[in-house]
């Protein structure tokens, strides 16, 4: 590989990593607080993408300005968080927090199955493609290769902003502190007056909205079609476990490793491309059993 191709591989890797991070970060946040691995996260991602692509397609066809693609992404994310995330937490998850882990996971698996069919009933089987946002920002040329500004610059910026924003939110704001407190000890938090139910709801809505935003951001670059959720969720699981449970910075680093690993694989060993996330996960967990940023649970005896 020459220096130029290495750089090209890094660009591709970073762009991909940004997208992976956007999806995984919501999953990690929810897991960190609620201790639930939300399989339906993949469906929320898909629905975020569907909403953006279908609404965008409809309103641009009516002659609205394509600049609206960007606020539309935020709207779709909010819709996913409020219309799907909130009822899911209030009506289903709230009833199973005291149940074993397996049951919690299976509840979200069931929701995933239901939402897969809901997507098909609402949006049908044809792929949706709506790339106004991509076209709007145009291309840049690097070493004679065109990149879209959207993927090369915007996505990484959004990912970094999300990472920093979440960090500041959790560390500096009162709401963030409440989330942190509930994460560590739900009952102790309640005993000092924190409404843990509300914190759970808020976290889940936020996490779901992040999934929706991930989908919305992915929609201009990809076809939105049935099944994209199932693919994304396994990858996000791998990121969450590799990162260390509930670790937002870990998720960022893991996403970056997976993104770079994947793009270098395409250059060097294309056949390994699919395996990269799992190989990284195995390698990391072999060396650090609690994940990159996880700390070993102190066994108190």
């Amino acid at each position: 590989m020459t220096g130029a191709t290495i750089l090209l591989a890094i660009f591709d890797g970073v762009a991909y990593a940004a997208l992976v991070f956007m999806v995984a970060v919501g999953l990690t946040l929810i897991f960190g607080v609620l201790r639930i691995l939300n399989v339906a996260h993949g469906s929320l991602y898909a629905i975020g993408a569907y909403l953006t692509a279908s609404i965008g397609g409809a309103i641009f066809a009516m002659g609205w300005s394509p600049v609206l693609a960007f606020p539309l992404m935020l709207v779709s994310a909010a819709l996913v968080g409020v219309l799907l995330g909130a009822p899911m937490e209030r009506l289903l998850l709230r009833r199973i927090y005291h149940r074993p882990e397996v049951l919690q996971l299976l509840v979200t698996f069931a929701v995933f199955m239901i939402l897969e069919d809901v997507q098909r009933l609402v949006w049908g089987n044809q792929p949706y493609f709506e790339s106004s946002a991509l076209a709007l920002l145009g291309n840049v040329q690097v070493f004679g290769v065109y990149y879209t500004v959207y993927q090369l610059i915007l996505l990484p910026l959004v990912a970094i902003a999300t990472l920093i924003g979440l960090r500041l939110f959790l560390r500096r704001t009162l709401t963030g502190k409440l989330i942190t407190a509930v994460t560590e000890d739900r009952e102790a938090a309640q005993s000092i007056g924190i409404d843990a139910d509300r914190v759970y709801l808020l976290t889940f809505v936020l996490g779901a909205a992040l999934a929706g935003l991930g989908g919305a951001l992915a929609s201009p670059t990809t076809s939105v079609l049935p099944g994209i959720g199932a693919e994304m969720i396994v990858l996000s699981f791998a990121v969450v476990a590799t990162a260390g449970l509930g670790q937002i910075e870990g998720a960022a680093l893991t996403a970056l490793m997976i993104g770079l690993g994947r793009s270098f694989a395409v250059y060097l060993f294309p056949e390994l491309q699919v395996l990269v996330p799992y190989l990284i996960m195995l390698a990391v967990l072999l060396i650090r059993p609690e994940g990159l940023f996880g700390s070993p649970a102190a066994r108190k005896i």
Binding site: L37, E101, L103, A110, A241, L275, Y278, L282, G291, R299
Partner: protein, 324 residues
């Protein structure tokens, strides 16, 4: 006979009568029992408090092993079963040595990772594995007797039933045995286990290998019934389905593994027949209803029912005594 045993006994009798009396259910139930045996492997791990989201790995390894062997002159059902179980067992040791160091979500995810790696290999190396189209597994001989489809399927049905009963019996005995009881303590207190001078990892490994072998047997039976093996045998959705069935039947219950898989196959196949494009929704709703309203699964529902009957019987019996 205790009330609780009546239904399982009746169920076995009813299952034995399916081929002559309800032949349309025969293949469906063969698949259900094949899956039930595999689900038993997942159930076993649940008893040690571990959830694997990758046991389709062993299901797939055994099924592919059988398919490769079937392409050789050693194309006999019994050999396929042996080879599949052995292959799954060896894979269980290798993967197990690695994953038994982890617990909870990490255990689940690592299993998932291994199964997804295997799945990717099946998809990637299609010159060897047939890729997404999989490998054909032509009808094997049974004890080196070539058979037609009809008798072969009847035989396979009874073989599955017998294996289900025999392996079910074995698993129940294993769980009651000292080594099985130690295995289950991994769920409740590993510290004490360590301070009994026992390695939690090695203990877990024993159960893990057994669970892999069970999945292997299920995988071979499934492959033999289907006549084809595809990468979907090892996909994560399949692993999820196994956990799904285990919980549906009653998490941790051996009988539940079979009750769950029969119920699952019936619901799924009728949902697929009558709501062809919404079968996932039907299954998802079914699962939600069970978890929310009957967390003990089918076995839990039955136990509650049997208890009520048993209590009523005891009451009427004591009344009678009082009367005389």
């Amino acid at each position: 006979m205790s009330v609780r045993l009546i239904l399982p006994a009746l169920a076995i009798v009813a299952l034995a009568l399916v081929p002559p009396l309800a032949p349309f259910l025969q293949v469906l139930l063969t698949l259900a029992m094949a899956k039930g045996i595999a689900v038993m492997g997942v159930t076993l791990l649940l008893r040690a408090g571990q959830v694997s989201f990758g046991h389709a790995l062993f299901f797939g390894i055994a099924a592919y092993g059988a398919a490769f062997l079937a392409a050789s002159p050693l194309d006999d059902l019994l050999l396929l079963l042996l080879a599949g179980a052995l292959g799954a067992g060896i894979a269980g040791v290798l993967v197990g040595l690695f994953v038994v160091r982890y617990r909870g979500i990490f255990f689940g995810m690592l299993n998932l990772a291994f199964s997804m790696i295997f799945w990717s290999i099946l998809e990637k190396f299609y010159y060897v594995t047939g890729g997404a189209d999989g490998l054909r597994l032509p009808r094997p001989s049974v004890a080196f007797i070539e058979m037609d489809r009809g008798p072969y399927e009847v035989l396979l049905y009874y073989a599955s039933l017998l294996l289900a009963i025999a392996l079910g019996w074995f698993v129940v005995r294993f769980l009651a045995s000292p080594v099985g009881q130690l295995f289950q303590t991994v769920k409740t207190n590993e510290t004490r286990l360590e301070y009994l001078g026992v390695s939690a990892r090695r203990t877990l490994l024993k159960g893990y290998v057994l669970s892999a072998v069970l999945c292997g047997v299920g995988g071979v039976l499934m492959a033999a019934a289907q006549g084809i093996v595809t990468p979907s045998y090892a996909y994560w959705i399949r692993s999820g389905e196994m956990v799904f069935i285990a919980v549906l039947g009653g998490a941790g219950s051996v009988v539940g593994a079979f009750a769950g898989s029969i119920a699952y196959e019936l619901v799924r196949s009728y949902a697929a027949a009558f709501a062809a494009d919404a079968w996932q929704m039907v299954l998802g709703g079914f699962l939600l209803a069970i978890i929310l309203f009957a967390p003990g699964g089918l076995v839990g529902i039955y136990a509650a029912f049997a208890d009520r009957i048993g209590a009523r019987r005891a009451k009427s019996a004591s009344k009678k005594e009082a009367g005389t």
